[in-house]
């Protein structure tokens, strides 16, 4: 086991990409992702990483380069944030539809307008239906481990993976973490091979116009139409939850870390009230949970959601079965409706007869501070009122920390 180092979250991500031996890296600078790309170009320029760095003129082209490289059978990586992610949105759909195992770090940041360089999750949430697997890290160690595991997952299920971590809270803070040793990483993550890679020896036309109906090929074999191809993506995305769990077990055997790849519950076993959150906010809630239990005798737990797409409905529903109340805190929403995660959790619980009462909180948009004290007070107040608010009102999102 290697020694812990203290570095920023962005450097943690870059180290993982170096360890993963990504071969083509294309990126366009955007705050707060920039240090990832700076670090990777530095590693390549210094000869510490054997890869091609393509300094593209836009995020749209960054993903295009990754699409080209991955289609030719080479491991590709990019990173972005916020409007950069949205600018490549068309390419995200393309990469998923083409089933390319691209890995991308998204350093989560609010979306303009108005401009904000600070953190929330609206960038990733807005791209939830692109067909990408979306995972969320809560600390620096998870950034490293999840990025490595993301390459393995992407290449096993042939679906691109987006590794999300909070801008500034994780990207720019310095925390200790253990970089995995290269030798074990090579055993964990074998070289990428792709049977449909572009090669003149075995020519294939990729992503050609595909008709609504299945059609015979030149050998008389029936090939799916567009809908069949898209159905495969949906089915195999669902199955990737299990693959992610298996990968986590392999990783744990090699590196001694892991065990909670999909959801990471903290003091949830006997909890009457379970908080659900993604990213660094879930770690912040651990302190709140400890205080509520210690000071106020409230049985509260926090369930961190690590995998957002595919949505692990059954796993979440099972984990929330014994709770009386579920409080969903999130940094993004579906405007005019409610928190996106909240809606997903509600829908996951719908088939079950014993459903906890659900409450939705929107926090930290555009970097609005989320003081631990205010999380503690909101939770305490909610629990003391025994959460007696009428259900229609409870269903509407409550905004934490509004100043007007």
């Amino acid at each position: 086991m290697s020694n812990p180092i203290i570095e920023s979250g962005n450097v943690a991500a870059a180290m993982a990409v170096q360890l993963a031996r990504a071969e083509v890296i294309a990126a366009y600078p955007i705050t707060p992702q920039t240090p990832v790309t700076e670090k990777l170009s530095e590693l390549i320029a210094a000869g510490k990483m054997d890869a091609e760095y393509v300094a593209v003129e836009s995020e749209h082209s960054a993903m295009a380069v990754c699409i080209g490289a991955a289609s030719a059978g080479v491991r590709a990586f990019t990173a972005t944030s916020s409007n950069g992610l949205l600018y490549m949105s068309e390419q995200l759909h393309w990469a998923a539809g083409a089933r390319l195992p691209i890995v991308m770090c998204v350093v989560n940041r609010a979306i303009g307008a108005p401009w904000s360089v600070w953190n929330d999750h609206q960038d990733a949430i807005s791209q939830r239906d692109t067909g990408w697997i979306q995972i969320f890290a809560k600390d620096h160690q998870e950034i490293v481990d999840m990025t490595l595991k993301a390459f393995r997952l992407a290449e096993l299920v042939h679906i691109p993976v987006m590794v999300n971590y909070d801008g500034y809270y994780l990207s720019h803070t310095y925390m200790p973490f253990e970089p995995p040793d290269a030798e074990h990483v090579d055993a964990f993550l074998p070289a990428y091979t792709y049977k449909h890679a572009l090669t003149p020896e075995r020519p294939e036309s990729l992503n050609t116009v595909t008709l609504p109906d299945a059609r015979l090929d030149v050998d008389g074999i029936k090939r799916g139409g567009y809908m069949d191809i898209r159905h495969n993506l949906h089915e195999e995305m669902g199955k990737s939850i299990e693959v992610w769990e298996e990968i986590d077990q392999e990783f744990q055997a090699l590196f001694g870390r892991g065990g909670h790849p999909v959801i990471d519950p903290y003091r949830c076993d006997d909890a009457d009230v379970v908080i659900v959150a993604m990213g660094s906010m879930a770690n912040q809630f651990r302190v709140v949970v400890d205080r509520l239990r210690q000071n106020d005798g409230l049985k509260v737990g926090i369930l961190a959601l690590q995998m957002y797409r595919p949505f692990p409905s059954a796993i979440i529903a099972e984990a929330l079965q014994s709770a009386r109340h579920v409080m969903v805190y999130e940094k993004g929403l579906s405007y005019g409706n409610q928190g996106a995660l909240y809606g997903d959790i509600k829908s996951a619980l719908y088939p079950y007869p014993a459903r906890p009462r659900l409450h939705n909180f929107i926090a930290g948009l555009g970097g609005r501070a989320i003081p631990t004290e205010s999380l503690y007070q909101t939770m305490k107040t909610a629990c003391e009122q025994d959460l007696q608010t009428p259900s229609a009102q409870a269903d509407a999102p409550q905004w934490i920390g509004l100043q007007l």
Binding site: E23, V24, A26, E52, V54, A55, V56, E57, S58, H60, S61, A62, M63, A64, V65, C66, I67, G68, A69, A70, S71, A72, G73, V74, A76, E90, Q91, W94, L198, T199, P200, R202, P203, E204, S205, L206, N207, T208, V209, T210, L211, R215, L216, D217, V218, R223
Partner: protein
Amino acid sequence: MKTTARTTVLNLTEEEFIHPGNRACSGCGLSILYRVGVKALGRDCIFVVPPSCLTVMQGLYPIAATQMPVLNGTFASTAAIATGVKAAMRRLGRETQVVAWAGDGGTSDIGIQALSGALERGEDIIYICYDNEAYMNTGVQRSGTTPQGSLTTTTPFSGKSEVGKDLPAIIAAHNPAYLATCSASYPLDFHDKLLKAKQIKGLKYLHVQTPCPPGWGIEEHMTVALGRAAVETGLFDLYEIENGRMQLTGPSQQLLAKPTLRPVREYLELQTRFKALGDAQADALQAQVDRRWAGYRDRFR
């Protein structure tokens, strides 16, 4: 270095790289180019194609017309996708040519940013723009290269009021390793320019005027005649730029010896797309050609 027309119909390889029977319109200028162009490129290449008539010509899944690998990508990103494929080839230690092949809309309009980036980086790819002077695949809408006065479905009554972009000049401003203009009506000239491009490192850009019978309003058998008329009237010039030096090539170079060119009206009147073009506009176009060719005669004769 000048291109000499080494290839003739007698020594052009008989080997075909495109399966017979594709979805191009009859009389399609692109189908001439594609068939002959791939003979120059050979089998060790990978194509990158954005939405265009070429997307359709390749065939619909799971049947393909092209015998080489083709990667279809989004409209705006052709040159960037080709960049990624070429980077992969370098990683794999392969010399395989990566050939981006896009239309004028995909190059002069939506794809110009990615192409400008690839030019600035000096990517080692061949980029072919077949310019049929409008969005033909979607049914003849005006594009950046649509010439002034041309009727399209989005300039339906009096024709396009603006002058078309001089795309090769925009590319030339990036100092590519090689730039050539070609015509679908001189496919062997295109063939030999591709042979030359294959030998050059860096970004090679070939801009090919490509007559389109349904889009230009011409009979299917007139495709070649139209492309030739464009060259012979001096409206579309065939040239190369290497190391910043421009040189007329082949048929355009031969025109230098002539005291006058065919009048541009002979070209315009063959097409229904210029029906709305008035006498004054045609005269202005003639004057423009005359000025440009007077300059050529001073420079090159």
